[in-house]
């Protein structure tokens, strides 16, 4: 209580009731953004899981909802979909968090599906899930613009995924066509089951080829399907694990570096490196090449790959895989080093886009002359912005608005 020093000039009214400019009931901005939409979808995933389990654990499931009559077949089947859709939603939340457009489309499709189970059973336990879905859907729709990143797959990932799909289709259609020559294969679902069990190398053995033709066919499915399956797992999961490992151990080993593709090289460490890394975000693989280990330790903490070495040396740039880089930013503390670095980078990769920062605006044309595609003088930009801002023509913040959405 001693902290409240009496101030007679400020009456009780002001101190208690008029301390801030404007008070709202709910600060909508905090609750209606893309982040809230992702959170709510995540909550829907968790609730869908719990509600599904709760439904399964009931000894006598009740079906009191409005959809109960409209559901064809055995409604008991539905009880499993709750838990199953929770997994799908979980993966989608992962994609939504990375602002992927495709995850947004799929979430819009899956969320109403997740509402089917509660609408069929309609117990008290289903209401929270229904409410969350009702909240999440409009929020996702409102925040459509935030989920605009395309799904970036490497050519290997696309190839392996499409070959899995292809082999799956080939195997299903083929085994169904040859169903007379298989023991235990009669329907379409039998053939889907057979192909997946075969491709995944599980092979229960309840469906077996009986004729030579069928055996040859099965072999083709095994060779191509299992191959595609293995490659797909490698292409999809290994990079993610690699990233984790790199994050855990700091700098990448040269073998890990060889896996890099379309990354951005940041050569040199300067005051502008931190905001630069902020702007590049986590979406792009970034490799920082800098000589000084004290400073690079700071970068290490951000889970960015660091190659310790002199960026003016061709060997260091090779190690950082400049030949596969999508772009190079040159920003050392000294313009002379910048020139040497641009020269070295251009020599190592003729095609790559090189952007350089000139500490002194006088040096812009020199850097351009040695091979930089674009040279930016941070000092000049800062000075101009200061001037514009003080004249009220445009605020510095407005400059960054469009970059936030597009990033």
């Amino acid at each position: 209580m001693g902290a409240d020093t009496p101030d007679p000039s400020e009456p009780a009214l002001e101190r208690l009731f008029y301390r801030s400019e404007r008070v709202r009931l709910v600060y909508w901005g905090e609750f209606s953004g893309a982040k809230a939409a992702v959170w709510l979808t995540g909550l829907a995933a968790v609730l869908s899981f719990i509600t599904g389990l709760s439904n399964l654990s009931q000894p006598e499931p009740a079906f009191d909802g409005p959809l109960a009559a409209a559901i064809p077949g055995d409604p008991v089947f539905l009880q499993f979909t709750g838990v199953l859709l929770a997994f799908v939603l979980g993966i989608l939340v992962f994609g939504l968090q990375r602002r992927r457009r495709i995850a947004w489309y799929l979430a819009l499709a899956v969320l109403p599906l997740a509402a089917v189970l509660p609408l069929t059973t309609l117990q008290a336990t289903d209401v929270p899930l229904l409410l969350v879905i009702l909240l999440a859907l409009p929020l996702l729709l409102v925040n459509r613009a935030a989920f605009d990143r395309p799904l970036e797959l490497t050519s290997l990932q696309i190839a392996s995924l499409s070959s899995i799909v292809g082999v799956g289709l080939y195997g299903t259609a083929g085994s169904y066509a040859l169903r007379d020559q298989f023991g235990g294969l009669e329907t379409w679902s039998d053939s889907v089951y057979y192909v997946i069990v075969t491709i995944a190398t599980v092979g229960y053995g309840d469906i077996t080829p009986l004729t030579t033709g069928a055996k040859w066919f099965s072999l083709s499915v095994i060779v191509f399907g299992t191959g595609a399956f293995t490659v797909a797992i490698g292409a999809l999961i290994v990079p993610a694990i690699e990233k984790r490992m790199a994050a855990a151990f700091g700098t990448m080993t040269p073998t890990e570096l060889t896996l890099l593709e379309d990354h951005v090289l940041v050569l040199g460490y300067d005051d502008i490196t931190e905001p630069l890394l902020d702007e590049l975000g986590i979406e792009v693989d970034v490799v920082v090449v800098a000589p000084d280990t004290d400073e690079t330790d700071e970068v290490d903490a951000r889970n960015v790959t660091v190659v310790a070495g002199d960026p003016t040396l061709a060997d260091t740039l090779e190690e950082a895989r400049i030949d596969d880089a999508a772009g190079v930013v040159v920003a050392t503390q000294d313009d002379a080093t910048d020139v040497l670095t641009v020269l070295a980078a251009r020599e190592a990769n003729q095609a790559v886009r090189i952007v350089a920062a000139a500490n002194d605006r006088e040096h812009v044309d020199k850097l351009e002359a040695v091979g930089a595609d674009e040279v930016i003088s941070p000092m000049e930009i800062g000075g101009r912005l200061l001037g514009r801002s003080v004249l009220g023509r445009s605020s510095a913040d407005s400059l960054f608005e469009d970059t936030d959405g597009g990033g």
């Binding site: 409240d4 801030s20 008070v23 709202r24 654990s57 009191d64 117990q123 008290a124």
Partner: protein, 618 residues
């Protein structure tokens, strides 16, 4: 600390309450979703405690979350360390007392202590005396309550459509600091406590069994159902809320237009002058306001504690004793003290928002499963009948000027209760109203909340009437089995509906939040009144008054004197009925003197129709 931003105690509370809420929440969620697996091994009282801990710690955590503007503040304040060393206990006490108003602070504290010693030493006499006084006041003074209430309604309606409604509090350039939703939410949730939850399914049934003599209908007849709903709407509608505006608008007017201090005694300004608001009369009015507020709120807290546990016992057979009630009240006190000290912008605002959201959500879910055609039918009849009978009901007492037993027990008792809440609710309404036109204040203080309460009472009241009449559920039988307690009426009604289990949860949660959102505001109001007028109440003072309210509630429970204190609160309503009259007379006089030449809504509309484009001077 709360008023200054985030203090070390608050930070500690946050680190304590957050995990507590998460843990208990996880257990409660598990119990909710997997009743067979989780509920069985855990006993009933444990569940009750767990759910209350979950809900209470959640509300408390919400209250101590820092406001947006506090985020930038220095997270570590070295001053706070020095402070601990500098302040001895005597220093702190001395400093604390030096800021309290001797009359408004000292007398209530002494009086409440004396009251409970009297209660402990000579219980029978005290009860009899207070009871007799209350009966006499409601019976023979009934005409006063009814008359003042009718005048308050008339003045409110005149302010709404008349020329004075255009007065903008704080001058023409003042901007409201609270957006309309938060303005409405905070006032609405402060002005009504758990009564709205308990009585909504119950009151119409009571009138159905014992119909109001005004209608002269057979008990439990079709006509009695209509009469019951009509009277329920009358008790919780426009009249009731007008009492708050009758105190709030005068205070707001003198505070923002004439520079008076924010106190209940400001209603005397037109008689004494703004400069003389330090006189003994004003001190007495403030003192009375403190009494009425503590009496009204503390009794409500104690009652809610009892009713809540009675409902639990009825519903799940979890019997509880006084210790249970005391623990419940202690928890409730903790939450509303935390909320009150965190300030209007944090705890009070957020809990008001939670209350309103829960209220709306419950209503929507209820509408989804309620017998809608029956509700519509009953409601339309009750609304029509209310419109016809509103004025006769307002002046009906029974035996000429003396109130009949029914009117004294229901209508007058109810009015007295609303009058005893008027000082703090009016003060709070005034405090939030800067930058609003008086018309908006009346709209928010009377029309909007009474529409909300009436819709709510129609919804729940007609559902329970329908269930009772069709014989689906014998709610009256359940009430009778529980000793005539209104607390149990909601449970059989909700249980009979689909998703009833969830509705019961929501019902219990609503009881807690509505009580909290009134008690935190009243604590703040009492702290303002008991502090010397040149100071704002310190966090210490707010905590002190919150604990006093909790203690009074606990002692009511321990000495089993709820009826006595209830009667006392009703008794303080009587002087406030007089004060409301005085304040309305003063307000009308002040408006006639200072606010001439304004245009009423009708006049403005006529001017607009006539194509009159000249400036209207509003």
């Amino acid at each position: 600390m709360g008023l200054q931003g985030v203090g070390p105690i608050e930070r500690m509370l946050r680190t304590l309450l957050g995990p507590l809420c998460l843990l208990s929440g996880a257990v409660v969620t598990a119990g909710f979703f997997f009743p067979e697996l989780v509920v069985e091994p855990v006993s009933g009282p444990t569940w009750l405690v767990l759910s209350l801990v979950f809900f209470g710690s959640g509300l408390g955590y919400l209250a101590v979350l820092p406001a947006e503007s506090d985020e930038d503040a220095d997270p570590f304040d070295p001053e706070s360390l020095l402070l601990v060393r500098r302040l001895g206990l005597t220093d702190t006490l001395g400093k604390f007392l030096s800021r309290q108003d001797p009359i408004a602070f000292g007398i209530p504290v002494v009086a409440f202590v004396l009251f409970f010693f009297g209660q402990l030493l000579v219980p029978a006499e005290t009860i009899r005396a207070v009871d007799a006084a209350q009966r006499a006041v409601t019976t023979y003074g009934g005409w006063l309550f009814a008359a003042v209430m009718a005048i308050a309604v008339l003045v409110s309606l005149y302010l709404l459509v008349g020329p004075w409604g255009t007065v903008k509090l704080g001058g023409p350039d003042a901007e409201p600091a609270y957006t309309y939703p938060v303005y409405f939410a905070m006032f609405f949730t402060a002005g009504i406590a758990a009564g709205i939850v308990f009585w909504a399914p119950a009151e119409a049934l009571f009138h159905y069994e014992t119909p109001p003599p005004y209608f002269g209908v057979e008990p439990r007849s079709e006509a009695a159902a209509g009469a019951a709903l009509t009277y329920t709407l009358f008790h919780w509608g426009i009249s009731a809320w007008s009492a708050y505006v009758a105190v709030g608008v005068p205070i707001a007017y003198y505070v923002y237009q004439r520079g008076a201090p924010l106190r209940v005694s400001t209603i005397l300004a037109p008689f004494l002058g703004v400069a003389n608001l330090d006189s003994i009369w004003c001190r007495l009015v403030d003192l009375l306001a403190v009494f009425a507020t503590i009496g009204g709120i503390a009794t409500s807290i104690a009652l809610v504690g009892d009713q809540f546990l009675a409902g639990i016992e009825f519903q799940w057979g979890v019997a509880s004793d006084t210790v249970g009630s005391v623990l419940f009240v202690a928890g409730l006190t903790f939450v509303f003290v935390v909320s009150a000290q965190s300030g209007v912008h944090r705890g009070i605002r957020r809990i008001a928002a939670v209350t309103l959201v829960l209220f709306g959500l419950f209503a929507v879910l209820f509408v989804a499963v309620a017998p809608r055609t029956a509700v519509l039918e009953y409601s339309s009849r009750a609304i029509g009948s209310s419109a016809v009978h509103a004025i006769p009901m307002s002046v009906y007492l029974g035996n000429g000027p003396i109130a009949s037993a029914w009117v004294a027990d229901w209508t007058i008792w109810n009015w007295a209760w609303w009058f005893s809440w008027a000082p703090f609710a009016g003060l709070f309404l005034a405090a939030l109203s800067r930058g609003r036109r008086i018309r908006t204040v009346v709209l928010t203080g009377v029309i909007a909340p009474s529409l909300a309460t009436m819709a709510w009472f129609l919804l729940l009241g007609s559902t329970s009437l329908h269930l009772q009449q069709t014989g689906t559920v014998d709610v009256l039988g359940a009430i009778g089995a529980a000793g005539g307690s209104e607390a149990v009426a909601g449970f059989p009604v909700l249980e009979s509906l689909p998703i009833g289990q969830l509705l019961v949860f929501g019902f219990l949660a609503l009881i807690v939040v509505f009580m909290t959102s009134s008690a935190d505001t009243s604590t703040l109001a009492v702290a303002v009144l008991a502090t010397k007028r040149e100071f704002a109440p310190t966090t210490g003072a707010i905590v002190f008054w919150g604990i006093i309210q909790g203690l009074v509630a606990v002692s009511v429970l321990v000495t089993d004197s709820a009826e006595v204190l209830q009667a006392t609160a009703v008794l303080t309503g009587a002087p406030f009925a007089l004060l409301v009259l005085v304040s309305l007379v003063g307000l009308v006089a002040a408006f006639r003197r200072h606010e001439r030449g304004r245009q009423s809504i009708v006049g403005a509309a006529r001017a607009k129709l006539a194509g009159d484009t000249e400036d209207e001077g509003g």
